[in-house]
């Protein structure tokens, strides 16, 4: 294995609207295990950002601690990144977003990070409706501490070392729905064709977007008894709604014969085209989405795709009526009321 990424770029590498190639969206060389699902997520994020023609430096990538939280290192080299403390990425993302509402915020987290130590912060960043994409690379085990079961491991799941999960799992999609997320999806790191459009739609969504990404741990949780293994997920996956993302500048064509499809206009004018596998599925019904997830789980199946979207929801800044100019660029002249005002304030203390 080489530890140095080659600098060579093929001259005919495809470029996007900004004249950037896919390579401009890559990050450092991964130090995750070979075959790690998280590396596929990394590549999907890079692809989504490249296809959306996002300037990489206008993205802030934040994470907590753990294998998943290392991942932001491996995409978008020209973006600022922040490995915070375990489970507390949501608060740091909140502060960063308060300071500069103009950037795109990508949060990357893991199951220990979000469902255990940081479950409280996860809940609150959802209800604060922070404008960000929050991804969980969910493998049901703690990788960096070598294989302990996570709170997202389903009851009865057996780890590589034979430990059985005794308790009810936390389903982060159900939680996100309950906490008020306005975009909730689940996907599989091994299915880029589903994941990339979801990431693109989630980034374009205004408000809090959540994607739970099942990402098998090749080292500690890919055993046949595990329902987070590649084989198990492949065999039990069902899609709620297939999302296709149409960027704002692209012409929208009506596809014949898809009566169960719906075009959702996102706030920037992009179109999210949903094709429902189940004709009854309604991606605007929060309660039904929760029910459907639970129903599938009881049948031993995994529901993926876009489960819920509210394209009209406001984000934190709109609710708070924060200045359009990012707070970090307000000048002293605007911020400091000056001595004459202070003297009138002094009067109120006399």
């Amino acid at each position: 294995m080489s530890y140095i990424k080659p600098q060579f770029r093929h001259p005919r590498l495809q470029v996007n609207d900004l004249g950037l190639t896919h390579r401009d969206y890559e990050g450092a060389l991964s130090t995750l295990c070979a075959g790690c699902g998280h590396d596929s997520i990394t590549s999907a994020v890079a692809q989504a950002c490249a296809e959306l023609s996002l300037p990489p430096h206008r993205i802030a990538k934040l994470s907590g601690i753990g294998c998943s939280s290392k991942a932001p290192n491996y995409f978008l080299n020209n973006a600022h990144g922040f490995n915070t403390v375990h489970g507390r990425m949501p608060s740091v993302a909140t502060g960063a977003n308060m300071a500069n509402r103009d950037l795109i915020y990508l949060g990357m987290s893991g199951d220990g990070d979000s469902a255990s130590i940081g479950f409280g912060q996860f809940a609150h960043v959802v209800r604060r409706r922070l404008n960000m994409l929050y991804m969980v690379a969910n493998n049901g085990v703690y990788g960096l501490t070598k294989g302990q079961l996570a709170a997202t491991a389903e009851q009865g799941m057996k780890s590589k070392s034979g430990e059985v999960s005794l308790f009810t799992d936390i389903d982060l999609c159900v939680s996100a729905l309950q906490f008020g997320a306005t975009f909730v999806a689940r996907s599989f790191s091994g299915d880029k064709s589903q994941l990339v459009p979801l990431i693109k739609a989630a980034i374009s969504h205004k408000g809090f977007a959540f994607i739970d990404i099942i990402s098998p741990c090749v080292t500690f949780n890919n055993n046949p008894e595990s329902n987070r293994s590649y084989d198990y997920v492949h065999d039990h996956i069902t899609t709620a709604a297939v999302a296709d993302f149409v960027p704002v500048k692209q012409e929208i064509r009506c596809e014949n014969g898809q009566s169960d499809s719906e075009d959702i206009c996102l706030h920037d004018g992009s179109i999210l085209r949903l094709s429902r596998i189940d004709a009854d599925y309604d991606a605007h019904d929060r309660i039904k989405a929760m029910t459907k997830i639970e129903q599938f789980k009881s049948e031993g199946k995994i529901l993926t795709g876009l489960m819920y979207i509210d394209p009209e929801a406001d984000d934190y800044h709109e609710i708070n009526n924060t200045s359009d100019t990012p707070l970090n660029s307000l000048k002293q002249k605007t911020l400091c009321p000056g001595n004459h005002v202070l003297q009138t304030i002094n009067e109120s203390f006399r």
């Binding site: 430096h57 600022h80 507390r88 300071a99 500069n100 609150h124 200045s323 970090n328």
Partner: protein
């Protein structure tokens, strides 16, 4: 009957019930004294409870300008709480006065011959005047202030003005409040010989000074320092820092054209998130802060370590209360000094600013934002409940309009263009402070990964020993650089012979002028040094070395700053005597004097034997 006599030097203690609206009436009383040109301080001694528990409010009036809490019995007690009446009667100084509600007859056994009982059937008056129970409750407080005006010789015009000022914009409330004041005033004038031998006379001793609490001052400091992002979680006694900040922002930080807020205050889910929000904002280049108290500090230490190591600017205001654990939430102490100086695991250190007056609370809070940006590290403003929630006479606040915010070493896009070799942790100037970039600045230059794991000069993860040491030594160097920006100690040399040195900090300062004066009357001339920041200035160790007997005066059990002095300046512990007060109430001059005298006597004895 003995009558205690004093003009302009006495203490009035109000005994009330929590949640009955007495605080604003008592404040009005204190403010009226100030408006008569007399130095005054007001301390609220309140329980960790919302309603129904005993609470006291102590106003000290001192023509000599000695405004620390005073030991000994108050000359005047206003006893409005049936629950504590026996103790309140017991607390009056012989020859002093007790104003009480005589609607119910006091049991004979409680009467004391040496106390002058001033009975006023205040509940009966309220019952006759007001039908609404809440009004009866609220106006009771205003009525006794009216009575005190007559008894203590307050200028009634001043009270009327105060009411008008207080209810500006709510004119409907002015008339009934003045009426209630008159009810009390007339009753007292009719029933008692007014004024009492303990009373006030107008003077002109206030000058420009204001009467304000430290939390309000810190909040204003944050407004003037340019804070825009706040993450917080309510905790006594720091809560009003944020509440005041919010109310000043409502007035001063809403864009008149768009109606949009030029600030974001996020009430977080806990203290971990509160400081996380501040950290994210600091990382992104906004001026950020959070405010908390002891238990919050415990929760925030993990993030403080990250901020220290990753070098993120943020301001933390710690209004200390009595610990450990939940401790005494509504009692004062200076017991987070060590925790804050060394907050977080590993070799980490934090910069502390330690104000002693509301004016310094304002100035240090504003300065903290400059320092955080300049030094790229958390700045902790250390106050306490006494400083933060009580009213202190202070020099007025001033802002130098010429002052420009020090935004520190931040490279913008144009500057990055000029930089050949950007490394987030490269010590280009040799002062330990490196250049940083903000997210979103430049398409190809200046991006880096912020992390709490060890990193080299280019912010890349490393476990190489030499890189780690290099980084840690630079951080140490940064702390030496910090010294030039921090407030220097305030040194007062009163005595030529350098025998006794008193070292103190924070709210203890209020008791010091009186302590020094009392000691001087007793033939002990003492020099003083007030610590204003950590890391410590070399002037502190010089002062300690130059004095024969040094007392480190603190409001905690363990002599935390004394330990810190030993640790950081390698001063011989035997050369510093710990003078400690930690019952939760503010230290008094009498306490300091007695402790100094006792130690001096012991010392003389030792020398003789």
């Amino acid at each position: 009957m003995t009558l205690f006599q004093s003009i302009n030097e006495f203490v009035v203690r109000f005994a009330n019930t929590n949640g009955t609206g007495s605080a604003s009436a008592n404040n009005m009383f204190a403010k009226a004294i100030m408006r008569m040109g007399l130095p005054v301080s007001a301390k609220n001694i309140f329980p960790s409870n919302i309603q129904g528990m005993p609470t006291w409010f102590e106003v000290r009036i001192s023509e000599k300008d000695f405004l620390g809490r005073r030991d000994g019995a108050p000359e005047v007690v206003v006893a409005m709480n049936a629950q504590t009446i026996a103790d309140d009667i017991e607390s009056v100084q012989p020859g002093g006065f007790l104003l009480y509600d005589s609607s119910r007859i006091l049991p004979q056994r409680l009467m004391r011959k040496e106390v002058n009982f001033l009975g006023m059937p205040i509940s009966d008056i309220c019952r006759a005047e007001y039908s609404d129970p809440r009004q009866r409750q609220l106006f009771k407080n205003v009525i006794y202030v009216g009575a005190l005006a007559a008894l203590l010789g307050l200028d009634f015009k001043v009270l009327k003005e105060l009411v008008s000022d207080q209810f500006k914009g709510k004119e409907k409330l002015i008339r009934p409040n003045i009426y209630a004041l008159e009810l009390g005033f007339e009753f007292a004038n009719k029933q008692f010989t007014c004024p009492l031998p303990v009373c006030v006379e107008r003077r002109d001793l206030i000058g420009e000074r204001i009467l304000v609490d430290g939390n309000t001052a810190c909040a204003l400091g944050a407004v003037y320092g340019g804070a825009t992002v706040v993450g917080w979680y309510p905790i006594t006694p720091s809560t009003s820092v944020i509440e005041k900040f919010a109310s000043y922002c409502q007035r001063l930080r809403i864009d008149p054209a768009s109606g949009q807020k030029n600030y974001a205050i996020v009430q977080a889910e806990d203290e971990l998130a509160a400081i996380g929000i501040a950290m994210g904002g600091g990382w992104s280049g906004a001026r950020v802060f959070t405010a908390t108290s002891g238990p919050g500090i415990s929760l925030m230490t993990e993030f403080l370590g990250l901020a220290y190591f990753a070098e993120i600017p943020l301001v933390l205001m710690n209004v200390q209360r009595a610990g450990p654990s939940t401790g005494m939430p509504t009692r004062t102490q200076q017991s987070d000094m060590l925790t804050c100086a060394y907050a977080s695991h590993g070799d980490s250190k934090q910069i502390l600013l330690i104000p002693s007056t509301p004016k310094e609370c304002f100035e240090f809070s504003a300065l903290a934002f400059d320092l955080a940006d300049r030094l790229q590290t958390p700045i902790i403003v250390m106050t306490d409940l006494d400083m933060g929630m009580n009213f202190h006479l202070s020099e007025p606040f001033n802002w130098d309009d010429e002052h420009e915010y020090d935004l520190g070493k931040v490279l913008d896009s144009d500057e990055l263009e000029q930089v050949v070799d950007f490394g987030r942790y490269l010590d280009v100037d040799g002062d330990g402070i490196c250049y940083r970039t903000l997210p979103g600045t430049h398409p190809t230059k200046g991006a880096f990964f912020t992390r709490g794991t060890s990193h080299n000069e280019y912010a890349v993860y490393t476990e190489k020993g030499e890189d780690y040491i290099h980084n840690m030594e630079r951080l140490e160097r940064k702390f030496i650089t910090a010294l030039q920006y921090l407030p220097k100690p305030d040194i007062n040399i009163n005595a030529k012979a350098k025998r006794v040195g008193l070292v103190f900090y924070g709210s203890t300062a209020e008791a010091m002028p009186e302590a020094v004066s009392l000691l001087s009357e007793q033939g002990v001339k003492a020099n003083t040094l007030r610590i204003r920041s950590f890391p410590f200035s070399a002037q502190i160790s010089s002062f300690i070395h130059e004095h024969e007997m040094v007392f480190i005066i603190e409001q905690n059990r363990d002599g935390q700053v004394r330990k810190l002095l030993c640790n950081e300046m390698e001063i011989d512990p035997a050369s510093m005597f710990a003078l400690l007060h930690y019952d939760g109430l503010a230290i008094t001059a009498q306490f300091i004097v007695e402790a100094v005298q006792a130690r001096l006597a012991e010392h003389t004895e030792q020398a003789a034997s």
